[in-house]
Symmetry: C2
Amino acid sequence: MNKIITIGREFGSGGRELGKRLADHLGIAYYDKEIIEEISNRTSLAQEYVHQIVEQKPNFYFPITIGRTLHATHSDYVVKQQTSVYAEQANVLREMAEKSDCIIVGRCADYILKDHDPLRIFVYADMESKIKRCREKAEVEEHLSEKEMKKMILKVDKNRAHYYAYYTGQKWGHHANYDLCINTSALPVKEFAEALAGMIKGME
Amino acid sequence: MNKIITIGREFGSGGRELGKRLADHLGIAYYDKEIIEEISNRTSLAQEYVHQIVEQKPNFYFPITIGRTLHATHSDYVVKQQTSVYAEQANVLREMAEKSDCIIVGRCADYILKDHDPLRIFVYADMESKIKRCREKAEVEEHLSEKEMKKMILKVDKNRAHYYAYYTGQKWGHHANYDLCINTSALPVKEFAEALAGMIKGME
């Protein structure tokens, strides 16, 4: 069975950097935005739209009195589309896991690929560090004020938590759902990735 | 400032082993049962009794209608003794942290020593692994059935969670209160301790 490492991460915590560095050290595939691209290709939906969907749980908020089987409402259609994107995402992840050793960031991969016995990592940080990292790394967020940036980080993470809870029935970020939880406010990503890669190689 | 590493741990998860191994690799002091011994010396209470106290939150369950300021009840006395043991424990920990680099297991050390900016580790595992570890390592628990052992593990951890919440106002085991949370069901303690020690040395 291929070695699979999944990384859940709070926005701005450096999960993507950790994943990339680990992949480089281990010489294995790294999947993040590639998953969105692949789903977009398969569903013929725009990448931006797929990205929105995989960051939010399906939206069921419309009056229950409307006969859902009789009227194919707009909401019905949206929910179906969201659910089918999740199903396609699961297919893409399973194919990636079958193909070779790899690191997958986000996308409920820890849960979807549980039969592959992945090493499940969760990366988090305090708000101050996350804002600092966003300022240093991101392009989109650099014009936001401190308050706006905090609000955005909290919103993205809230959506991730809801999405994860909706599809897995588990609590996002709860240590019991992971093998390793890393606070990048205290631990430097570069050095930790190197040490962790060394340990993973040693375990093989 | 001395380098302080604190280790919170679920019963049977291997937190003590990780602490000892880390201390050996780093060549620094390791405190676990020594803390109980020191508190026992200072308070003239039996070690066994101190151990019981530092694994449980103070017991406030007596009728509130009894005037606590008027009657020095047995419960009053016990609560005072428990609280003073906690205060003495805090003194002992601070003195240990002032003395040299060290690793401290349990005792709310992550919270008590927060001004020392410790590396805060939490060690946990799934129930199956914890029962297995207890069977392999412990002497006291080896005669217990599977069911009795599970009950004991849950009880010890429940007490630890209550004790931690009572004195720190924080949630025991919640990732935000730690820098690194390690699931020893998936990660081998020996190899992880070596890798982590290497990284800590590299950070100096």
